[in-house]
């Protein structure tokens, strides 16, 4: 099938689909009608962010005993460096005060502690692969079959894209899923004549689809981003780093793409990670600015959008000898969206004390990432058990009641 043809069909189909959904979208309760077109952005924090210091178990004395130099102070409105109360047990890192905390208060953010995988290697790379492939840890792996690629095939009207320099494993095997280096969008120098000659050279080769799709997406993205810059910037201080990426992603997911992936690195904090301020605080603040910026840019469509923030594993519950943390197990995942029933800590939980640590070292995993995604997919896309099995072969979906 000619790819251009598929693209234009999809785009037309999607616009028609959106028009039909308009009344429900306006009400912000798209979820009442499972199976509707909707948007998903998966944000992967590569390097295993120190979840216990971002979504903080402030009621746990064991937390304060385990982290003599790293612990964040219990919530105290008078103290700017203290944690921000989420509920009786949990509080948020103060670096997220202006960004994620307001979303949580509006019910547009939820946190899932004790989340992760059954991969026990404590290897970043192995566990990232485990998550991206979504195939289970025992069986031999098929590296050409990522779970988001299988999702592309299982749902209708998917317009997938990776906002990464390279196509991530999770989209491998999904046909020509485009990727775009989102912070380096420039005016293309290869002109239309050269593009068509190059496309011709690739006909019949394994890269034919990627090349054809690439030229199409290249032009679409360039136009979307430059048009937006012209109309919106007006001399404002332009955002940098992840915030710039995330804002651009918001623009592109408004109406061009509906299934996105982006990753953010730099979380492997073995040494001097800081507490209320310092290295990790700066990283998480930048992430928060990005996610809140995305929500702002995507506009009313935020109501039909789900953003899931994941990481390969958590870190050791106790700080190490260098004011840092080593590789652990359970993490805390985030679910955000304009239409979710958030403002809560969701999923299975246990007390945060030494007795409940996994291998007397880490958070246990009580909420499997596939069960979490599966539960979301069921509600978002109206997938039945059989359709879900195409994405995650053998996992019971878990409904967290967010949609």
């Amino acid at each position: 099938m000619c790819l251009n043809h598929r693209l234009s069909l999809n785009r037309r189909g999607m616009i028609a689909g959106l028009a039909a959904l308009a009344p429900m979208t306006a009400a912000g309760h798209l979820w009442a009608a499972p199976g509707a077109v909707t948007r998903l952005l998966v944000v992967f924090l590569r390097g295993a962010y120190d979840a216990a210091n971002i979504v903080i178990p402030v009621r746990s004395d064991f937390y304060y005993a385990s982290r003599p130099t790293l612990a964040i102070a219990k919530p105290d409105p008078a103290v700017a460096t203290s944690a921000l109360s989420l509920d009786a047990d949990w509080a948020l890192h103060p670096a997220l005060r202006e960004t994620i905390f307001p979303l949580f208060r509006k019910g547009q953010a939820a946190f899932v502690p004790f989340a992760g995988t059954d991969d026990l290697t404590r290897s970043h790379f192995e566990t990232q692969d485990t998550i991206e492939l979504g195939q289970g840890v025992k069986a031999p792996r098929n590296y050409r079959s990522g779970f988001m690629a299988r999702l592309v095939k299982a749902i209708t009207h998917a317009r997938p894209i990776a906002f990464t320099d390279q196509l991530p494993l999770t989209f491998q095997g999904g046909g020509a899923v485009p990727n775009i280096s989102i912070n380096n969008v420039g005016k293309p120098a290869i002109d239309t004549r050269q593009a068509s000659l190059i496309t011709a050279m690739y006909q019949g080769t394994p890269h034919a689809a990627a090349v054809q799709e690439g030229f199409q997406v290249r032009d679409d993205v360039y136009h979307a981003i430059t048009e937006h810059m012209l109309e919106a910037n007006r001399g404002a201080v332009s955002p940098k780093g992840f915030e710039l990426s995330a804002r651009r992603i918001g623009q592109l997911m408004k109406d061009q793409f509906n299934l996105g992936f982006v990753d953010v690195g730099g979380w492997d904090t073995h040494v001097n990670q800081g507490a209320a301020t310092g290295y990790l605080a700066d990283r998480i603040a930048e992430l928060g600015r990005g996610l809140a910026g995305f929500a702002e840019e995507i506009g009313p469509q935020w109501n039909d959008t789900i953003m899931v923030v994941i990481s390969e594993f958590g870190r050791t519950f106790r700080e190490n000898g260098n004011r840092g943390t080593d590789h652990g197990h359970g993490s805390v995942y985030w679910v955000l969206g304009g239409g979710i029933k958030g403002g809560r800590i969701v999923g299975e939980q246990v007390a945060v004390d030494q007795a409940h640590l996994f291998q007397n070292r880490d958070y246990p995993v009580l909420n499997d990432y596939r069960a979490l995604f599966g539960g979301l997919f069921q509600r978002m896309y109206g997938m039945d058990q059989a359709a879900l099995r195409q994405v995650f072969a053998s996992v019971q979906p878990k409904n967290l009641g967010l949609l």
Binding site: F125, D165, L197, I198, A210, N320, G321
Partner: protein
């Protein structure tokens, strides 16, 4: 396709100095497609001068010369002079660390905020400049060293024992790391290479072993040694082995102080110093350990030697390293029969890298795959520049470093210790292909700053990328598909032809 004479006429507008005149075609036999594929695979990219060397020595002699190069390098003078002009190539990691830590101390005691900021800025700029010099030297080696296989393996091992320049002050050490820890052992023994990386400032900083001490355990490096550097993940070691190796590694760190640390008399004989490397027995855990089923008696640095012996003689290490090398040269999923034979060579020779490569290059699996490996960005860019300018030595490596960064495979720029992915699926996505075509246009259209001396008032020498050269007509042209030829025939200028040729499916592998 234009007849050759017409093509040459097209180039008439280009200054004559830009040409690399192809040698007379009848002096040596014409290269076969297999010759071309062999040279293209073993080197950073075939060009006329390398092909001439290959043809005059013959396949086997040339290959043995590549596998066993002289310790002393012999780069062309124009490249060696540029390298020698870079101070970093003559300065040890210890000297750089000492100089910059002095600068840091100055900044620390300054009370005037402006002066302090200016000093810190100077410090940062200085470090970046040192890393740029190291990168320039590396690119010149890769492009012009006659010992091309050593250069390809230098990149491979750097990536295998990856460090990231932007962590702490590692920018100061990447040059020395590459020169003294990696290149020196790139075709030598694996254990020497492993030990050289273990003792290097860059690695001690990057994976935090400099902070690993008794009572302050940091298991970062211990884990990556087993997972990435030797045995490979899932090969049978446990979390307990990681923790035991971390204990074995306690005390292996950095000391810039010329005076020895104050030690109790009984510990003094156990102190090890070598440049900036120090094994400090006062920071070591002297308890006994059980590592991979073997008891290691607590006794100091000898424990580390013993642990590396255990790791390097483990069959999982032989398998893991062999497979990585085969992925680099052969395919995303190399045949097990091939990697098994390479692993046997590893075990038989105690990790002699040249012997493992010899097994690989003489295998039928290698011959069958020759010329089909999809190029990663480094190979893509370097092979284009090598073909375009052959032995006309570039004057500025900046454009190459920028292209590699844009293609997401920048030198010393991979943040995590796994190094860049070597499977083609990491590099052949739509976005990657688009960036590649843009860079094909830059390389193909003009000299793109490669012959402009660095600095604001740098003079630019005339040069033009001559891709339709002797090697093209002798060997490459016949390998092009009909569709590629048809597209090239529609080129409207030499610049356009170059852009299309460098964008062609054939040039991607």
């Amino acid at each position: 396709m234009l007849p050759r004479r017409q093509v040459i006429a097209l180039f008439a507008c280009v200054p004559a100095t830009a040409f690399v005149v192809p040698g007379p075609a009848d002096a040596v036999p014409l290269p076969t497609p297999q010759d071309l594929a062999m040279v293209d695979t073993v080197t950073w990219g075939a060009n006329q001068s390398t092909m001439t060397a290959f043809l005059s020595l013959g396949r086997e002699k040339w290959l043995q010369a590549q596998l066993h190069p002289p310790a002393e390098e012999s780069l062309p003078q124009a490249a060696q002079q540029q390298i020698d002009a870079l101070p970093v190539t003559r300065t040890s990691a210890l000297a750089l660390a000492t100089a910059f830590s002095a600068l840091g101390r100055v900044a620390g005691v300054l009370t005037n905020a402006d002066e302090k900021a200016a000093t810190l800025k100077l410090n940062q700029e200085g470090m970046s400049d040192i890393a740029r010099q190291a990168a320039a030297a590396d690119i010149l080696h890769a492009l012009y060293s006659p010992d091309q296989l050593r250069e390809r393996m230098t990149w491979f091992w750097f990536n295998h024992f990856n460090v990231h320049q932007y962590k702490a002050n590692i920018r100061l050490f990447v040059g020395d790391y590459e020169r003294n820890a990696i290149r020196k052992h790139a075709l030598g023994h694996f254990r020497d290479l492993l030990m050289a990386t273990l003792r290097h400032l860059a690695m001690l900083q990057y994976l935090d072993n400099a902070d690993n001490a008794v009572g302050h355990i940091n298991e970062n490096y211990a884990r990556e040694i087993m997972e990435l550097h030797t045995m490979g993940v899932g090969s049978g070691y446990t979390q307990a082995d990681v923790q035991e190796l971390a204990r074995i590694l306690t005390g292996a760190g950095i000391d810039l102080n010329p005076e020895d640390p104050k030690l109790k008399p009984e510990l003094q004989p156990l102190l090890v110093r070598d440049g900036a490397f120090e094994f400090n027995p006062a920071r070591h855990d002297f308890g006994d350990k059980v590592f991979l089923g073997k008891t290691i008696r607590g006794r100091g640095f000898a424990e580390i030697e013993q642990a590396l012996d255990i790791l390097c003689s483990n069959p999982a290490t032989a398998q893991h390293i062999s497979r990585e090398i085969a992925i680099y040269f052969v395919s995303d999923d190399p045949p097990k029969a091939l990697t098994d034979r390479m692993a046997q060579t590893f075990m038989r020779t105690h990790g002699d890298i040249a012997s493992i490569l010899d097994t690989l290059f003489h295998s039928p699996e290698f011959a069958a795959a020759e010329g089909t490996r999809f190029k990663d960005p480094v190979r893509y860019v370097l092979s284009a520049v090598r073909l375009a300018y052959d032995d006309k030595v570039i004057l500025n490596t900046g454009p190459i470093l920028n292209w590699l960064n844009r293609l997401a495979e920048g030198l010393y720029n991979h943040q995590t210790p796994d190094g860049y992915a070597m499977v083609s699926s990491a590099w052949d996505s739509s976005g990657q292909m688009m960036t590649r075509f843009e860079i094909a246009r830059q390389i193909g259209s003009n000299s793109s700053g490669l012959f402009k001396l660095p600095g604001p008032n740098g003079v630019e020498e005339p040069a033009f990328p001559l891709l339709q050269n002797g090697l093209y007509f002798d060997a490459m042209q016949s390998t092009l598909s009909a569709t590629t030829r048809a597209a090239l025939d529609k080129a409207t200028s030499p610049q356009d032809w170059n852009t299309l040729f460098l964008s062609s499916p054939e040039f991607m592998q």
